[in-house]
Symmetry: C2
């Protein structure tokens, strides 16, 4: 199991088989090829959030929020729709189980939550991509789970396909600012549900070498994905379980309920020492109170209930508390995202996650249907709320549209431009106040008649002084017009095709690739997973 103190990440003792070549794609190394065909993106890095969190709640509000969260758990209870989970919780002696309703005393809750590490690592098949979860690390993942797809070429919304899913996985791997591969970047509904997880995980594990996720949708899927991640990493079962190699994310069925498939996957990953993210989907005014504090308290209660279960199943299980608290449009009931209320709910949840000593997840989200101005201001609001709240894992950070019902490659690429800028924003050299940076001698040298383009102080630094965007167009209007007058999503569409044309999957040992393919073939022959859940 992971040690809570092992941040910054160390290479785990268990090494997968050596890989052939590193750094061929995506990094600066891969971008210096002749012709400048690839985009110039930032190298892989683990961003550190240097900003003090924005904390709307004064201390007494934190205490009141905690008290109500505990009273929900103590007095109202959470339903666990899983007999084994109920039995496990009954046996603890800390819970009152009545039918499917479980009430938990606050001392017991806090004791269990206290077992969860404040930080841990997840180690994917490429150990260079090991992720530290917690502390002030800020990590981004791709859009997950939209059933539909939209791009500029189609110009309309269509059901997701495997090819689209593969293309979005290529973007996930390509962009260094995407740290983990979340759920399916679009649901490939052209693959039968019984074997979909096998095909998509095969695609994901061969196209990506970053941390991956398993949906908690029934025992077979979870077990299959864990086995595939183990095989792809070249790991023994003991090695797989020695430290988190992957994670799941579960959503409660708000209000106050955890369903069977989610709980089943949750416990299976807990038992094998894998990482656990619980994200209640508490839309204020629909599945949660219309007041944001109430929606956050309910979300915390639902999340902590799952954390308690994980800690009972495996003390010290690495858990992340997620937030998806937003509001609905009270005129239509439609969910809204990136709203002022969403931002404050995320910040409040951040305060409470620190209070409970748990890493936090939030999201990059919007309600917009196309990658336009609204899409970007809503997504910006959700991303800055992630920064302000001290979020550690940002789900859906690239590619999300229509409240999560559409995945779009243009939006993915636009979001990556923003994510890179957030990463750059966190680089302390920008606010360096050394003598060199304060530049008094350069100011004296240039004086009131000169300019700084030519001075030595500039010449020594200009190549790396400033963030260079790959998608923002800083040309003046006339030059932009001559270059084709492309609006942002059109430019993103062109970048999308350039990346696809040049994409090469990360290396994988032939023996590993064969074992993975054999596993998929065997499990397909066995019929995959049941589809009647």
């Amino acid at each position: 199991m992971s040690d809570a103190s092992d941040i910054p990440p160390e290479t785990t003792a268990v090494q997968p088989a050596p890989r052939r070549v590193r750094g061929r794609h995506g990094g600066r190394l891969g971008n210096t090829r002749r012709g400048g065909a690839t985009i110039e993106q930032m190298p892989w890095r683990i961003p550190v959030n240097h900003d003090r969190p924005t904390e709307p709640l004064p201390p007494d509000s934190v205490a009141r929020m905690h008290d109500v969260t505990m009273r929900i758990l103590e007095d109202v209870g959470i339903e666990f729709l899983h007999p084994q989970a109920l039995e496990i919780l009954r046996r603890t002696g800390g819970c009152t189980v009545t039918g499917e309703n479980v009430r938990m005393g606050r001392d017991f809750v806090m004791e269990m939550v206290g077992r969860a590490p404040a930080s841990f690592t997840i180690t994917p098949r490429n150990t260079d991509r090991t992720l530290p979860i917690g502390g002030n690390f800020l990590l981004f993942g791709n859009v997950s789970s939209p059933p539909n797809y939209w791009d500029m070429e189609l110009g309309r919304k269509v059901s997701g396909t495997r090819e689209q899913c593969r293309n979005l996985l290529k973007l996930t791997q390509y962009f260094n600012c995407i740290h983990f591969a979340g759920g399916y970047p679009v649901e490939p509904v052209d693959i039968h549900a019984s074997v979909r997880h096998l095909d998509v995980l095969h695609d994901k594990l061969t196209l990506c070498d970053k941390v991956v996720h398993a949906y908690s949708l029934g025992a077979e899927r979870v077990e299959d994905v864990m086995e595939m991640v183990r095989i792809a990493g070249g790991l023994t079962h003991a090695q797989f379980e020695a430290t988190p190699r992957m994670y799941t994310n579960i959503n409660s069925t708000s209000p106050l309920k955890h369903d069977w498939p989610m709980l089943d996957g949750w416990m299976r990953l807990a038992r094998r020492g894998q990482a656990l993210v619980v994200t209640p989907f508490t839309l204020a005014g629909a599945m949660a109170p219309v007041t944001m504090a109430g929606a956050v308290a309910q979300s915390l209660a639902e999340a902590l209930a799952a954390v308690v279960l994980a800690q009972v199943v495996r003390p010290g299980a690495p858990c992340v508390i997620g937030t998806f608290t937003s509001n609905v449009d009270m005129k239509t009931g439609a969910p809204a995202f990136g709203t002022p209320e969403y931002m404050r709910a995320t910040q409040m949840t951040g305060q409470m996650a620190r209070f409970y000593g748990l890493p936090m997840r939030s999201s990059g989200v919007c309600a917009a249907n196309v990658p336009d101005g609204q899409a970007m201001w809503e997504t910006e609001h959700s991303l800055w709320a992630a920064v302000q709240s001290g979020t550690n894992m940002v789900y859906h950070a690239a590619g999300w549209l229509e409240g999560g019902l559409i995945a779009s490659p243009e939006k993915f690429i636009m979001d990556c431009e923003v994510l890179q800028q957030i990463q750059r924003y966190m680089e302390p050299e920008i606010w360096d106040c050394s003598d060199d940076a304060l530049a008094l001698e350069a100011i004296r040298e240039v004086g009131p008649q000169g300019h700084f383009f030519g001075c030595q102080h500039t010449q020594d630094r200009y190549e790396t002084a400033f963030y260079q965007p790959f998608l923002s167009d800083w040309k003046n209007y006339e030059a932009w017009q001559v270059a084709g007058a492309a609006w942002t999503p059109e430019r993103a569409h062109a970048v999308f095709h350039r990346i696809l044309a040049e994409f090469e999957p990360p290396p994988m040992e032939v023996a590993v690739a064969e074992e993975l393919a054999d596993f998929v073939a065997r499990r397909k022959a066995e019929g995959g997973a049941p589809t009647d859940f």
Copy 2:
């Protein structure tokens, strides 16, 4: 002169003539008319920034930044291209004047800066629109000074006209989230430069009743505008000078230089007790060091030099320190806006403005040429930097494109949607943790099987619980498609025409209107202002 302690604003003792009707447009009152033709915007309010500023500089860096700022003023000096200003500064005994170069000892600088009020008010002709400048107040102004115009109907960049300028002034007045009318929202180049200020200020003072600005572009323009603001307010000269009624903004000619027209206007407004904003335009790598700390230090030195002059001319003159520090694209020399470096420079300047005890100005800016995704992420970055830095006056908060070379009504309206959301974000009821807001009883009542739409707690609050956008489209894709599949700027364009069609200017007494028209006619007959400066 303004009293530094009179925030929140009080109605000044001097009242303009009573107005006929209030609140007919722009507020909720005006939006309840049948047919729902007007947009539903937020009522006028003075936003209070409740967030603790983001402060990248540790205390020793603040001290180092201050030291270098002072050494620039002490050792390098600032050029004042204005003989009278030089003479005024020479006489203080605190400056060393060598030709046009003025060096200032830090004790003298700090003594003079200490005279400037930490906060003050500006009272426009509609005293209900009085603005508190400083503290944690956060105010927004329209785009100022682009020579060009772009809208969706034209689909191209054209030189500004009076009609476009008037239309943008109508937006400035219409939107309650726009608190002050900055410079010309587009430069009407179809009016001769000698009389342009007369026509535009006449338009501005009749179409708007909010705080207005005078360009410091020669004695005649400044004096004309002060006189017109006095007339429009129905004020005697003594009343005009009793408290700030308007303001100017000057830019230094970086590096290290203040030009004659700017200094001349600066001193004229100082003498008459009007508000003064100084905003060096320090593009790192061009007019300032390539390192952001150096660019900020130079900007501070240039700004403080002007503040010193104002305090010598009139002790206690109300001054605001502005920042326009950004970086250039080092490949092309083009200015970039809303970059990570811009954000951190704004935050650093905010820390230093608080160190010097001065209100602060920053901007809502972007490099994008059209109102697309890039325009919004860059503008969002600059607006959140304004929030994070503790900025008091946000210039160019609505309507800016192409690094300030284009004004666009669609961008104006898109920005107002974001400004409203920032205003809503600052409303403490969102993070209220009263028993009512924590909603334990509602959670108990609804339980795990229900939903919150119908419960009393929701019914009592749903109409005002959440921010309601006027431009964001929260419909799902299919409903959005049926409604015309309009992207954000298309929707903004439609809103633009609805506002123009329904706009009614704020009331003005007939006698005041006649006096204002007479003044314009007389000054035009006199030839207006010389155009050879």
